[in-house]
């Protein structure tokens, strides 16, 4: 399954080829490192799920992920122990995480999630530890835990942007903490300032430095051209060994007759592209398609011509070179098909309010709809146009619209390339700006491109923009059945990891339903408990010291965990991108911790209610034993999900799993 994805990226690190992914690089770097250390040579192609590894040494990478995944259990155990000061609660949480089939499956393979969850839990644990050191500030252990929190935050952010939520959690906790300190009048402002500084240092500056360092390593390691080049700007590409822009030199100023490629300036914008295919009937005029294409291709080449005459061909050495100037009217001829870039008042295929852009004419002869005015942003008339550096706008002379790329992907007939339109709205956006990238003109002297070298900050900024763009570009397609956030807590639908057919070895990512539904019930119970406790306290009811301690655990400890759960779950409802079941797992960790705390307090409360009689202890112990046994039994039932199963599908009554298909939506 996604191993093909992340395993491949691990190989890229080992081979040092540049690639692009929507997540920050730390997780893949660690995978690559683990592979490197365990002797994997980066040659396995990772082409499609189900391919055999053969002689390749993959155990190191899997083992690394599994190790991080198993660290979650002690982390959760310690966190709950610290928050509730109750061993049974911590044990219950640990049992839940050990016996959850989903967690096991997710941490067995080469994926980012175990790494993410490792850092996330690490951050939560060190935050909680740091809080409990609050009575002896500036001690060694206090500093240790505080800076560890910062390190883990950087780690979480560096694996996936989901790490942002745990940063928020820690941030809110820190603000609460500082607010408390500020109200403490026995502390002088100087001491408070020290507290503030320490937190800024450890929780903001340290993670930022680490995060930046991570990217620095990323860009230093990956210095060879690879499949990710096209996503980045021309300036960036000139830094990659093997890229056709690396150390090249091109003529500086654009001239008539030159062969060029044009790149859209929106982040991850493509090259202006055309090919021998027509727009299908019913979609504008039936002329040749013009699209934006992310990859390098011969079909990206265009020839610049004057609008009124065919420029003397390049082979004739005697004809003088004439440069293109700002506000000239030009024609762009597609080199492979000899058709002119053309636009007219037909609606564009996807963006209905824009005009369609086509390739038109035969052998370079077209009509007046092929004329474009070339304008450089922020330049006066008559100036020359620089390759790579000038930002250029192409205005269609006849209709006054501007050539742009809408960023929408065309359907199958357009080979899923990006739509190019002519927009009648004259707003200045990167969508409608282009630059010239390749420039071939044998008659002109070449200059080196080293002047373009971007600074590290620019690279960092650009790569983030590209990642964000990539993330929001992962939209579900029409008719695709996707996972919805409300499916997750109820364990509505799993994710097939490997194997489809009856004879395959199948692994299915699905939480242990008993545990997940228990978690769900616990959240409800917790809310009920928290509200009643808060109201009781607010009404000023006198409580025994024991109950007071319990209510503190419920409100403070439970509150922190609930906040974590909310922060890791609710934002998904607002996300437009494609969502998968495994996105819920960070929230699930919090929910499991909450379950531990909730049942512990609930049983303690019940026991306290019966306190004088002998049954009290029995109720408490019995309750716990029942829960643990229930969890273990359900694990026994569902363990084939994560360790793999062979045989008929569960929908077949003869399968051993037939009785376990409790919901119609499960497909194992």
């Amino acid at each position: 399954w996604d191993e093909t994805h992340f395993g491949k990226m691990g190989s890229y690190y080992i081979n040092r080829t540049f690639f692009f992914d929507v997540h920050p690089p730390l997780g893949k770097m660690l995978i690559g490192l683990a592979g490197y250390l365990s002797g994997y040579d980066g040659t396995f192609p990772f082409q499609k799920p189900g391919d055999r590894y053969e002689q390749h040494n993959y155990v190191g990478m899997r083992g690394f992920c599994a190790f991080l995944g198993s660290c979650l259990v002690p982390f959760a155990y310690l966190t709950v122990l610290e928050l509730s000061k109750s061993l049974p609660a911590a044990l219950l949480t640990a049992f839940i995480l050990i016996f959850d089939t989903g967690c096991i499956t997710l941490s067995q393979y080469i994926l980012l999630d175990p790494i993410l969850m490792f850092f996330l839990m690490g951050a939560v644990l060190s935050m909680v530890k740091c809080n409990s050191c609050a009575d002896r500030p500036f001690s060694a252990s206090w500093w240790f835990w505080l800076s560890l929190t910062g390190v883990n935050l950087a780690g979480a952010m560096g694996v996936k942007f989901v790490g942002l939520f745990v940063v928020l959690l820690v941030g809110l906790n820190t603000i609460y903490d500082l607010w408390d300190l500020l109200g403490n009048l026995s502390l002088s402002l100087v001491v408070f300032g020290k507290h503030l500084l320490a937190r800024v240092l450890c929780l903001i500056l340290l993670p930022l430095a680490l995060y930046t360092a991570m990217f620095a390593v990323h860009f230093t390691v990956l210095n060879k051209s690879g499949p990710g080049d096209g996503f980045f700007s021309s300036a960036f590409q000139s830094q990659l060994i093997g890229n056709n822009l690396y150390n090249v030199s091109v003529p500086e100023h654009l001239a008539y007759g030159s062969v060029v490629t044009m790149k859209n300036l929106r982040m991850a914008g493509g090259y202006l592209h055309s090919h021998w295919h027509l727009y299908p009937e019913g979609i504008g005029a039936r002329q040749q398609q013009v699209t934006a294409y992310l990859h390098k291709d011969l079909n990206n080449l265009w020839i610049i011509k004057k609008h009124d005459s065919d420029t003397a061909d390049l082979s004739d050495p005697s004809s003088p070179v004439e440069f293109v100037r700002h506000r000239d009217i030009i024609r762009l001829e597609h080199k492979e098909t000899s058709r002119n870039l053309h636009s007219h008042q037909h609606e564009a295929p996807l963006t209905r309010k824009h005009f369609q852009v086509t390739g038109y004419g035969i052998n370079g002869t077209g009509d007046s709809n092929d004329f474009w005015r070339i304008e450089v942003v922020g330049r006066k008339a008559g100036k020359l146009i620089k390759v790579l550096r000038s930002q250029v706008r192409l205005t269609h002379v006849a209709t006054g619209c501007i050539l742009g790329s809408s960023g929408k992907t065309l359907p199958k007939w357009g080979w899923e390339q990006v739509e190019v339109t002519c927009t009648p709205y004259l707003k200045e956006t990167p969508n409608s700006l282009w630059n010239f990238e390749d420039h071939i003109n044998p008659k002109l002297p070449n200059i080196s491109l080293d002047v373009l070298k971007p600074s590290f900050a620019e690279i960092l900024l650009e790569s983030h923009m590209v990642m964000i763009r990539g993330n929001s570009g992962l939209k579900p397609k029409d008719n695709e059945v996707t996972s919805k956030p409300w499916h997750w807590p109820i364990n509505y639908q799993g994710l097939r990891f490997s194997g489809v057919n009856e004879t395959d070895y199948r692994v299915y990512l699905l939480g242990n339903p008993v545990i997940w539904w228990l978690n769900l019930v616990s959240i409800g119970l917790y809310l009920l408990m928290a509200v009643s406790t808060a109201v009781t306290l607010k009404r000023g009811v006198q409580l025994t010291s024991e109950l007071k301690e319990l209510s503190r655990v419920v409100l403070r400890g439970g509150g922190q965990i609930t906040l974590g759960w909310l922060l890791h779950y609710l934002p998904f409802f607002m996300m437009g991108r494609v969502l998968y079941f495994h996105h819920y797992f960070p929230a699930m960790l919090f929910s499991s911790m909450l379950t531990g705390i909730t049942w512990d307090t609930l049983l303690k409360f019940c026991a306290g209610f019966l306190s004088p009689s002998i049954t009290a202890g029995k109720v408490y112990g019995g309750g716990f034993l029942a829960l643990v046994l229930l969890i273990m039994y359900s694990f026994y039932l569902f363990h084939p999900l994560s360790y793999g199963m062979i045989g008929p599908m569960a929908s077949d009554p003869s399968s051993p799993m037939a009785g376990l298909r409790w919901m119609d939506s499960w497909e194992f």
Binding site: G183, K412, T423, Y425, K477, D478, Q493, R539, G540, S665
Partner: protein, 728 residues
């Protein structure tokens, strides 16, 4: 008894002249020359068509919001005697004589005018001085953007009116709370809060933001009451229930009632019918109802039916087949079965008729008594005109190669056997023995041999090439994961087949259906469907010349041209009063900085201002800054096309904050007399500049008088403003 005989009857009337004056000024500023221009202005073109449809009682769906606002606009048309006959197609088109422009625009203008006294009252209820209250009202009065927006048939001014009303009534209620709980006026204001909230939500979904804010404030206030030891548990419970009733149950009921009125008013079928399910369409007069009226309800073996795909996107279509076959080879070289095509056809046609056949029997007529088809039964579907069986097999479909081809089976005497058994699965069944009902049942057809599901591929560009007459593709979906509407069908037209002979049957298929059973949906079913459609129906992402992003609004970097005189340079723009916008921004900034400062100082037990002033400051800010934030910030998360007018509710709250901050500064920070008088002088100067700017921009607010080119150029204070200048 008879006390009035002893003492004379005295009526003491108290008239707040401030308030009266404000109302009058508000009315003048909003109503003056209301029917000018006598042409369609901006979004009137959009709302106008709904008003016309209301007048004609034709059903429509508007995905931009709930129907209450449209109904209010239609009420104006109704009172003015509008007959709905006007073609709303172009901004700037002249109104014909039958359009009562004045009364159509009256309600929004009245709502806009009443916002002025409401602003006054809100500040008074927040316990600020009459002077501050007057200031707030005047700022609202002189705000050009609010004037423009309320002078036309648009919804924002109505929305703002209800929002302010809700805030005011909550404040009134809260102030009464201290001394006279459960009194008559206490109940009145509490209930009015709920009603105004539901009206605001009913006009536009944006109203939800303010509703949520008020719920949060009410929750907070109630939380403080819980801490009050003097209140008994019982009285707390009563308070809680009263609030729950007024702020949750009544709004929900009101919201439902809007839809009830909407659906009662609109009972004729119209252009948006096809978005709805067949069942809904059949409940409207005309349209589908005319056809389906009197159809038998239960589908039986031998029934003749047409099957409509439930998805209805990109167009509604019916399962169709015709004599032509799939080409032996497609353009890209793949082979087909060369059997008869099955498609989804967007028009009514005799080839859409299918006959339900029992696989065990030969007859194609309904037996007496009819044997109904139930969930889980296996049937064959026979195409009425060609008498071929609906079939699917393991051949790649023409456009979606990963799915199975669906065809009508022709026996070519080759190795490929007929696979024409389909299991009927009723998706919305109540029990497993449900009967397949016309229109109401949503059905999946699962192929018995391959478990593929019959599906119309509903993606854009799913129409077949030339050989398939551009009809839509139908496939057997192998990975039938989950529920998707494209895999669900319902019977639309239906009759019991009577003729055994093919010739007779063809005649029968061509004849219209007869018989009688009425199928009316309950209100709740209609409501859920309509609400769901409103929420999920997405207009294609459109770009507009005047669309803007939320960030442009604070600084008013954008404007919207509403109307341009066909010959002269007179024009109307949505443009705010620059001074007001700037000072509102400054006020918000000052408020936030000062609050943070006070808060930190208070935490260190340093009290700069007296406790009651602090309480005032917090509650006023909670409403105004809170109102601004909830009405503004969510737009950063929205992906729809945004315009400057979306900012107006937030702006209103921000304007209310200006006098609050000013009074606070005057009272607490200007300690010496000299400072105070200087401060007052500054305020006067600032106020006159507000008035000046209002006067300067009033030609583009009211559209009169017409300005010359140089005057227009002078008005272009920001480069990003798009003032229309006619070329000479």
């Amino acid at each position: 008894m008879l006390g009035f005989l002893k003492n004379p009857v005295v009526i003491t009337a108290e008239i707040n002249m401030n308030l009266m004056a404000l109302i009058v000024m508000g009315l003048i500023s909003r109503l003056w020359g209301l029917s000018y221009p006598r042409a369609v202005v901006f979004d009137e073109v959009y709302y106008g068509q709904f008003v016309s449809l209301y007048m004609k009682r034709i059903f429509f769906v508007d995905d931009s919001g709930p129907p209450f606002g449209h109904m209010l606009l239609a009420l104006g048309g109704y009172l003015g005697g509008f007959d709905g006959n006007f073609l709303w197609n172009r901004i700037g088109a002249e109104y014909s004589m039958n359009v009562p422009v004045w009364s159509l625009r009256l309600l929004p203008a009245l709502a806009g005018a009443l916002c002025v006294p409401l602003a006054y009252q809100i500040l008074v209820e927040l316990q600020f001085s009459h002077c501050a209250a007057l200031g707030a009202a005047l700022l609202i009065l002189l705000e050009n953007s609010l004037i423009t927006q309320s002078r036309f048939m648009l919804l924002e001014s109505i929305l703002i009116f209800f929002i302010l009303l809700a805030v005011l009534s909550y404040l009134k209620f809260y102030n009464l709370q201290r001394h006279s709980s459960f009194s008559g006026s206490w109940w009145f204001w509490l209930l009015l809060t709920g009603v105004a909230c539901s009206c605001a939500v009913g006009v536009k979904y944006m109203g939800l933001f303010t509703y949520m804010l008020l719920l949060a404030v009410a929750g907070l206030h109630f939380w403080h009451m819980i801490g009050d030891q003097n209140l008994s548990n019982v009285s707390l419970m009563c308070h809680f229930l009263a609030r729950g009733l007024a702020l949750i149950i009544i709004p929900v009921a009101m919201y439902l009632s809007f839809f009830y009125v909407h659906l009662t008013l609109l009972y004729r079928s119209g252009p948006h019918d096809q978005i709805m399910t067949s069942a809904f369409q059949a409940s409207l007069e005309g349209g589908l109802a005319r056809i389906t009226q009197g159809q038998p309800l239960e589908v039986a073996y031998g029934s003749q039916i047409t099957l409509r795909n439930v998805l209805g996107k990109p167009v509604q279509c019916w399962l169709h087949s015709h004599k032509n076959t799939y080409p032996i080879r497609y353009e890209n070289g793949r082979g087909s079965s060369h059997q008869q095509q099955v498609t989804c056809y967007p028009f009514k046609d005799v080839n859409n008729w299918w006959i339900v056949k029992d696989p065990g029997m030969q007859q194609l007529v309904v037996s007496n008594p009819p044997r109904p088809v139930r969930h889980g039964h296996v049937v064959q579907l026979v195409h009425g005109i060609t008498t071929r069986y609906l079939n699917t097999h393991d051949v790649a479909a023409p456009l979606s190669p990963h799915s199975q081809e669906v065809s009508c089976y022709i026996d070519y005497n080759i190795s490929m056997p007929a696979q024409n058994l389909w299991r009927v699965e009723i998706v919305n069944r109540e029990s497993d023995t449900d009967v397949w009902k016309t229109i109401l049942s949503e059905v999946r057809f699962v192929h018995v041999n391959t478990s593929a599901v019959l599906k119309a591929s509903g993606f854009i560009g799913a129409s077949l090439p030339e050989w398939g007459y551009r009809q839509l593709e139908v496939v057997g979906e192998k990975l039938s994961k989950g529920y998707h509407q494209s895999m669900v069908w319902n019977v639309e037209e239906h009759r019991y087949g009577k003729s055994q002979e093919q010739k007779e049957r063809e005649v029968e298929l061509h004849s219209p259906t007869q018989m009688d059973i009425s199928k009316n949906l309950s209100f709740m079913a209609k409501f859920t469907e309509l609400q769901w459609k409103i929420l999920t129906l997405k207009n294609e992402d459109t770009e507009h010349k005047y669309s803007s992003s939320a960030l442009d609004w604070i600084t008013m970097d954008t404007n919207v041209a509403y109307w341009l005189h066909p010959t002269s340079g007179a024009q109307i723009h949505l443009l705010g009063n620059v001074v007001t916008w700037t000072s509102a921004n400054v006020a918000a900034l000052v408020y936030m900085c000062l609050s943070l400062w006070y808060l930190i100082r208070r935490r260190r037990k340093i009290y700069d201002i007296p406790e009651d002033a602090w309480q005032l400051w917090v509650s006023a800010g909670g409403i105004c800054v809170g109102g601004w934030a909830v009405n503004y910030l969510p737009f950063f998360l929205m992906e729809k096309t945004l315009f400057l007018y979306h900012y107006l509710p937030a702006l209103t709250f921000q304007i209310l904050l200006v006098p609050i901050v000013l009074q606070h500064l005057g009272d607490h920070l200007c300690r010496s007399l000299l400072l105070k008088s200087m401060f007052s002088a500054l305020i006067v100067a600032w106020f006159s500049s507000v008035y000046l700017v209002y006067c300067t921009f009033s030609p583009v607010t009211y559209g009169e008088p017409s300005l010359s080119v140089t005057e227009l150029k002078d008005l272009r204070w920001k480069d990003s403003w798009n003032i229309l200048i006619r070329k000479q």
